[in-house]
Amino acid sequence: MTKRTDAYFRNVPMKPYDLLAEGLIVLLVVAVVVVVLAAVLSSPDYPTVRGEDVANRQPVAFVQTSANILAGNSSIQDYGPPYTPDTDNAQSLFGIAPAKWFGVRDRIDPAQDFILKPLARAAVLNHDVATALDTYEAAIPDEQQTWVTAYLSALDEATVVNGEVRVTPGDYGPVPTLMSGMLDLGRSGLLEGALESNAKLPFTLDFTRSLLFFQDDVYASVAEKLNLLGDQWGISNETGRYPGAWWLWPYTFLYQIEPMSSSDNADLQVGAIMIGVFLIMLLIPLIPVVSWLPRWLRVNRVIWRRWYARNDGP
């Protein structure tokens, strides 16, 4: 032993010990437990939700998602940094909005990036889409908005006939053709590829746009059925009956209580609280009362009961 440990353990009775044997036995036990759990219970692996699946199974929902984005109703439209320059929706706490500090890092114009640019690719394969796209882009913004808004209203009563989304006749301009083009893009399985940056293909590893495309309604709908929404303790749950990231319970718990549960700044509020809690945990040895509690709680009497039975304990 070193001088340090020699001095510390002076007058403390010692017993024989085998560190490696203990470590190997525990490692073996852990390995057996893990193998048994994996063999008996397997693990969750809920398949991805793809544009192709949504377009084929829920064509009206797919078109509604697309039309809402084109109408400017995407949650990314006025999200703020790092996607859009408008900072009105940037979360703030006591006037501090960290989201603003670094500005726009990945500029996203939902209508352009999620709908019109992918349609421009589909237009190469489909002349009707090309014509509709020209018509739409030649129109003034008010006229575009009128078409899309009217079409969105009509979608509430939409039917699916032979795989096509049908709405009551109206003045929708080229929007039905554009939406039909988006539906075809989805069904072909090419949507995700069309959404990602052309400059990086075929080595794209960044799926920001294809994930944001469906996050508002489609993903939320799937998540609700799987008890994964934020007000259902969110990401600390797992699909099926498997344990999830339960170590995040304190984090997800904060989203369930006021003021966070009804706040537009909940993410920042919860994040700030968790940073504070972590700092307290980190600095426990230096914090009065919190560092004294273990002695008062006296659970140590159970842990060291044999020692205290032989010696004068606390």
Binding site: R4, A39, Y46, R105, D206, D267, I284, L286, S291, P314
Partner: protein
Amino acid sequence: MNLTQRAQRLLVDNLTLEDALPTQMPVYVNSVVYLFGVTTLSALGALVLTGVIMSLFGPAWYHGSNVGHFVNSLHFWSVQVFFGALVLHMVSKYLMAAWRDGRWKTWMVGALAFGVAVITGLTGFLSQTNWDSQWVAVQAKDAMNALGVGAFFNTMDAGQVLTLHIVVMPLLLALLVGVHLFFIRREGPVKPFQTEGRHDEAN
């Protein structure tokens, strides 16, 4: 004194062979709570081993084959055992006030390792390439963006997330765990409380 001599002196002063691989322990080291740390370490070893196998064969293998899915299951349950043992380890060390007698650095490095482990777990959920990854990515991005972290860490960038999970975070965790173990072996296990009503001994 040259650099090598200084390194020798550092080891002699702080970590002899008997400190690193002890053959005797104080008699008060006599409880199941002393096994929570080594259980955490064992589960971490299982995580690294199964993670390396998954990296070698790739996502198509662990999603599409029975053997691959089994290894994925081993990784999944290793995570559960790891965090279960880690939480028990931290709670028991708190209840023992294990930072006493100059062991505050051991506690703090361990707490930092816990924080890194949580982030490693998050990047793991994001790297599953299944529905969980999709949903966690769009949910977690709001928290990251609100904190300003989203400017540098994009939960929806699979390339960034995967390399963080299998390279950067494990290396950081290994470093912290290594320092944590160094302090543990250097100091030895903290003594039980000796006297009643002296709060200063808890610091």
